[in-house]
């Protein structure tokens, strides 16, 4: 139990670090760490197969893919964000407070969620959305999408069961393909626009 709590706490800490980090390489490392933490959590909750798959895809595969993309396009190490880092961290903190408040309001059967899992999941989800909205570089938006998905996985972890492993694995595959397609798109963006700052996407509007 204490290991579970420790992992959840590390996830939260990892979220705040992600929100406060400006270097893309550092963010990528944090995303990898988050994948590993998520995998460890699921293994703690006795979902060994899914945990292993997550470790493979979110802990190793996708971060490597993103790193390779980053290196190949030679993007700058950081892109100025839409949302200042301090504001993002503050918003993440407020999101966490909200999630903690929400947990108390929800009519859930006792013991359905391991303690503290729900707020962590919602906090992670919120952190991911903040990254998608608040960051201007295409790579960090993809990372934000990944973090959002991590939050959803965490939220769904009490529902995972041995009989539905196929479903979770399909979800993971979907996610992998999604990030893969986004990676290709980033390659194209970098070669067409000579930047990955999607804040400069302004040619289409009414």
């Amino acid at each position: 139990m204490s290991i579970l709590l420790l992992l959840l706490f590390l996830l939260l800490l990892n979220n705040l670090l992600l929100l406060g980090t400006d270097r893309l390489a550092g963010m990528n490392r944090l995303v990898a760490v988050q994948g590993c933490l998520l995998a460890a959590l699921l293994i703690c909750l006795d979902h060994v197969i899914i945990g292993a798959a997550i470790l493979l895809i979110k802990g190793v595969g996708l971060p490597l893919l993103l790193r390779r993309t980053h290196l190949r396009i030679g993007a700058p190490s950081s892109v100025p964000p839409h949302l200042p880092y301090a504001a993002a961290v503050l918003a993440g903190m407020l999101g966490l407070v909200f999630a903690l408040w929400l947990e108390k309001q929800l009519p859930l059967p006792q013991g359905f969620f391991p303690p503290f899992l729900l707020p962590t999941a919602l906090g992670t989800l919120f952190c991911g959305l903040l990254l998608v909205i608040g960051r201007a570089s295409a790579l960090s938006q993809v990372m934000g999408y990944l973090v959002t998905e991590n939050g959803i996985f965490l939220l769904g972890s009490p529902l995972m069961s041995a009989g539905a492993v196929w479903f979770e694995l399909t979800l993971l595959l979907d996610l992998f393909v999604a990030v893969f397609v986004m990676g290709i798109a980033i390659n194209h963006i970098s070669s067409k626009f000579e930047t990955i700052d999607v804040g400069r996407f302004r040619s289409l509007r009414d």
Binding site: L125, L129, A138, T148, G163, F167, V177, A178, M182, A185
Partner: protein, 502 residues
């Protein structure tokens, strides 16, 4: 049969990637479309006979609602695949060229990748429409996003890339929210001993059964409401409900016209199906009023937003895209009204898809002739391309809901539904917005048709058959549906409408 329906397009896609010959790939595309359409017809027939097929242990088992959307997707795919043969041929001849606005040099994506993605896209839509497992539905909708993103980036220039990126990120994140809706649905029934909803292949029936026992004011109620909100936001993003529609005009205006036709005609419906599944469960739980109110609200917002952007729109593909936002709004409005309006909405799904597909294909013809997307620069169409012009004018009359066409009937039914519910004010607002949109659309479209032919444009030559026959077929169908709805279809529509409160 359903296995073949799902896997056949995938097989075709794999073959296309292997075969380098362009003509072989195009033949394969049409062959896959025809085979899919034939199989779909067989499936629909079995559903109508009350003997629906089932595959993968019940994972694929379409009901009439899904079957209707499947039929639309398959029919549109068949038509566009025929159009695609001519389109891809002419694109191949063009080679590298300059962007008409920015002057940037660009090429096309490899053709076989394009056709393969089209087939994967079809397969994903088949999964969405056939499955009764909400998780699989989610996977299918995400797969449609991933398969259609490369389609939007067929013309490899900056604007289409920008549209593709917006589409990918906004829709992926939006759909991720819909997955939360799935989880919340399961949470609602945890207290009733539901261990894992994902294990049941026929998840929808299980959830409907559980929902039927939900006591009003019970602990499950807030969960179900929250789940529907997440469905609405998540799938609503993909469906283009305002204010979540931002990606839609960009993607539709930058994609090749036949892709826009499929996106507008088939894909938006698939996302609507996701919302309808949630609506279905809420109705079973006795919370239909809640979801209907939300649908009504977002429907009207979409109509209003579309009206604002349609008036003065100088970009004819964006015009059509906003018209899709409008019609998605009408659908949500009709379904939210309930009763006879739902029947109207089902007919509207069919007619809107056919008409919008036709209009986008015609827009492709206009673009290839005039090389501009601005409706101010297109004039004298009736001299330059008479056959397309006739269809374009007919399609315009159809899409704004003029009498002889099917959309008139369906929009009238929805209005009738509003009056039957005693919603006079809503009905009046609906009519007023439709009138504004009618005027807003007629200005640019009439401007395009009338006037003199631009001096630098050669006189009318014979238009390629493959570019006008598919829209013609669609237009005739819509006209037919306006004059006469066959008994079988009428029956099918009401069967579909019954599942969602009609």
């Amino acid at each position: 049969m359903l296995e073949a329906l799902l896997l056949l397009p995938l097989l075709a896609a794999a073959l296309m990637m292997l075969i380098a010959r362009a003509t072989a790939g195009r033949t394969l595309l049409v062959a896959a479309a025809v085979a899919h359409a034939v199989l779909t017809a067989a499936v629909l027939r079995r559903i109508a006979e009350g003997n629906p097929p089932s595959a993968f242990g019940g994972l694929l088992a379409p009901d009439m609602l899904g079957g209707l959307f499947l039929g639309v997707a398959s029919a549109l795919f068949l038509v566009t695949s025929v159009y695609a043969v001519g389109y891809l041929k002419s694109e191949e001849d063009l080679g590298e060229r300059s962007h008409m606005k920015t002057g940037e040099r660009f090429t096309n994506a490899p053709e076989r990748r394009f056709t393969a993605c089209l087939c994967i896209f079809l397969s994903a839509m088949t999964l969405v429409t056939c499955t009764r497992h909400l998780g699989a539905l989610w996977v299918g909708i995400e797969a449609t996003t991933l398969a259609s993103a490369p389609l939007i980036y067929f013309h490899r220039h900056r604007e289409s890339l920008e549209a593709t990126w917006k589409y990918l990120i906004i829709c992926s994140v939006g759909i991720a929210l819909a997955l939360i809706g799935n989880l919340l649905l399961s949470f609602a029934f945890v207290a009733k001993g539901l261990e894992s909803a994902n294990e049941a292949a026929d998840q929808l029936s299980l959830l409907l059964r559980l929902a039927a026992d939900v006591a009003p004011g019970g602990p499950a109620v807030p969960w179900l409401k929250a789940a529907f909100i997440f469905f609405l936001v998540g799938y609503g993003t993909k469906m283009g409900l305002a204010p979540l529609h931002n990606w839609l005009p960009d993607a539709h205006s930058q994609a090749p016209s036949l892709v826009s036709a499929l996106l507008s005609g088939a894909l938006l419906n698939c996302a609507l199906l996701g919302i309808l599944r949630g609506h279905q469960i809420l109705i079973a739980a006795g919370l239909g009023g809640f979801s209907a109110q939300l649908l009504l609200f977002f429907g009207l917002i979409s109509l209003a937003v579309a009206a604002v952007f349609i008036v003065g729109q100088g970009h004819y593909k964006r015009l059509l895209a906003y018209s899709s936002v409008e019609h998605m709004g009408i659908l949500a409005f009709g379904i939210g009204l309930g009763g006879v309006a739902v029947h109207g909405a089902m007919l509207h799904v069919l007619c809107h898809s056919l008409t919008k597909c036709m209009l986008f294909l015609l827009a492709g013809n206009i673009l290839s002739r005039y090389h501009t997307l601005s409706s101010h620069d297109v004039h004298g169409m009736r001299w330059a391309m008479p056959f397309t012009t006739v269809l374009w004018a007919g399609g315009f009359l159809a899409i704004v809901g003029s009498p002889p066409f099917g959309l008139f009937v369906s929009e009238l039914w929805i209005f009738k539904g509003a009056l039957a519910q005693g919603q006079w004010v809503l009905g009046a607002v609906y009519l007023a917005l439709l009138a504004v949109i009618f005027v807003g659309m007629s200005v640019p479209i009439l401007h395009m048709i009338q006037g003199t032919r631009p001096a630098d444009l050669p006189r009318a030559t014979r238009e390629p058959l493959l570019s006008v026959l598919p829209p013609l077929a669609l237009g005739l169908t819509v006209l037919l549906l306006g004059l006469y709805v066959p008994q079988g279809l009428r029956h099918a529509l009401s069967q579909a409408a019954r599942t969602i409160g009609g």
